[in-house]
Amino acid sequence: MLKQKSYFSLAVVVVAAAMIVAGGVVTASNTGFKLNKPLEPIDTTVPIAAKAGDNWTSVPYFNPYGTWGAFCTQLGLITSGIPTTVRDQLQEVDPATGAAFQAACGTSTTRPLIPGRGIKIRRPSSITTQTSVIIVGSHNPSLSMTAPQGVAGSHTGDFWFAVPYHTTAVSAGDICTQAGMWAGTVPRGTVSRLNPVTGATTLVQCGTAAANALNLVLGEAVLLRDPHQPISFIPAHF
């Protein structure tokens, strides 16, 4: 008993340390979450480095936002100002068609936030340092993730997966396994993580050592794509 208590104390200390390192705070009560999500600024010196500042974000499947408008407002994102480039920008991709949709906060306010689908937050150029937002919600353990088979030469099948905050997956390889993505002969399923600081994308193929070496980051969405078969799974969680 004493030994278990010591382990627990150690765990609390290490968790706290890790949270400080990560710059975020996540707490769970049953399946409730409150995450302090860092948002990286865009790179104003090399704008077409483009993806720096693309904060692909995971939102709990049950959440109080419901719409893009409420999401912007409740996270304290910038929702006013003209031109709209001075506001935060949101973007998502529909895996069924590959179509992206983007809007500035304060526009398209009734657009629904799709549970399980990651959303990109891009800060305006006036924000030049890392900021953070508080994201709250809880998990829907029965929600199934689906995406069609990736179509060569198109974005159809691109699924930005909102990874649950209490996922059992540690690496991209774990996601491959959970989602049953193709790990046989090429072309294999792939998982991509976009680093919002550098804008660099790390793409790994399922079934490879690289997939097991690519660790997930709390609060981030990752891009799943399987050119061999459709994706359908219920995310595993603690």
Partner: protein, 391 residues
């Protein structure tokens, strides 16, 4: 404990710096590059039915263009052919409000190849030209540069002040100098000018606030008349404006510097001959018509207009009138005797049979009691309704 460790591993992953590896070769633009209205700015264009639009990259229009994609939204609840949701600001069909929504990185109707107009972040690279032709043949031409921090071509930036709407115009740069009708062919002498062309480099435009035209007015390309083309299509259609679907016309010099062309009237009663004009923008001929008008076929029933009801009521004159088989009507004038009552042309829907209503204060009618409606056709000719007396 095992669960705690796994959770810790996830959290600690935030400190992991990912190693970049090349992305797989993609046949489409890897990242979205939108060409869109972003705020509540809109184009004021008759939009009872879908509105035609075409976009291309200035200087690379042969390879970088929107092909047959639908990029003009007239219904805020619908999607474009790229499956992109239209902006709610597009309203409903028939409200005269349309928006532009297009993604160069999107799937549909984009030819294979790397079609990202902007690869450097320089706002002047890959400037987009958008041509819109509304239901009644009125049109608008807009050019905008790239906004590098949101990776978007904002149509808003060409709007006055970046906040005022722009409108389709019946000035398509094709003034009819003369029209001679033969048994099976018509000869038109056309004073070809240029249609309205709005850019984010125009003084007072939104380009200054969006930062999409760093060169200011000097960045605005020249625009000049191009050439004349023809094609046959259903009278109640807006034919594909791309030049590849048209045939160049032989031009002879006409009076007053006009260009004279002859077109054969189609035999099919539902077909019309269309005469279209291109422009040259920045010294390069546009790859689509920037204006056009219809010429009725040999058996085509002429556009008809009739007054259904005209009455003086509560200090106003109200005129209800309708059309039959609109094919080339672009608008209407309402007359009391010889006095025109409307200040600007009442825009026609341009397709099918439609009802219209016009109201004006009783004082404008004065002592006249004979009311007529004049339909103005795209070739400059007019058709009058029968007169109706009001008491």
């Amino acid at each position: 404990m095992k669960k705690v460790i796994r959770l810790l591993t996830v959290v600690a992953a935030a400190a992991v710096v990912a190693v970049a590896t090349p992305s797989p070769v993609s046949a489409v633009c890897a990242s979205p590059q939108f060409l869109q209205h972003s705020l509540v700015q809109f184009l004021g264009c008759p939009d009872a039915t879908p509105v035609a639009g075409y976009a291309y990259v200035l200087g690379n229009d042969a390879t970088m263009n929107s092909l047959a994609a639908t990029l003009v939204c007239n219904d805020g609840t619908k999607e474009t052919s790229q499956n992109i949701a239209c902006q709610p600001d597009a309203g409903v069909p028939g409200d005269g409000i349309v928006t532009i929504q297009y993604d160069w990185g999107g799937n549909s109707n984009v030819p294979s190849g790397s079609l990202c107009p902007n690869t450097t972040g320089d706002p002047t690279q890959g400037r987009n030209v958008v041509q819109v032709v509304a239901n009644d043949g009125s049109s608008i031409n807009v050019m905008v540069g790239f906004e590098p921090f949101t990776l978007t071509f904002y149509v808003d930036s060409a709007h006055p002040n970046g906040s005022d709407p722009l409108f389709c115009s019946n000035n398509n740069g094709m003034g009819i100098q003369s029209h001679t009708s033969a048994l099976q062919a018509d000869t038109f002498c056309i004073n070809q000018t240029t249609p309205p062309f709005y850019t984010d480099c125009d003084p007072g435009s939104g380009g200054a606030v969006y930062g999409t035209c760093p060169d200011g007015a000097a960045g605005r390309p020249s625009i000049a008349p191009g050439s004349l083309y023809t094609r046959t299509a259903a009278c109640n259609s807006l034919p594909d404006a791309r030049k590849t679907a048209w045939t160049a016309l032989t031009i002879t010099a006409g009076p007053g510097g006009s260009k004279c062309v002859t077109v054969n009237r189609p035999a099919a009663p539902t077909d019309c001959a269309f005469i279209g004009a291109t422009s040259t923008i920045g010294g390069v001929e546009t790859s689509a018509m920037t204006g056009s008008f219809r010429v009725g076929g040999q058996g085509a029933a002429s556009d008809k207009v009739a007054i259904k009801k005209a009455e003086l009521l509560q200090g106003k004159l109200r005129v209800d009138f309708g059309t039959e088989n609109e094919a080339s009507i672009v608008g209407f004038n309402v007359y009391a005797g010889t006095s025109k009552l409307n200040s600007g042309l009442i825009q026609a829907k341009g397709i099918g049979s439609n009802d219209y209503s016009f109201e004006v204060g009783r004082g404008a009618v004065k002592n006249e009691r004979s009311i007529t409606v004049e339909a103005v056709k795209s070739d400059g000719t007019t058709v009058r309704s029968g007169s109706v007396s009001v008491k």
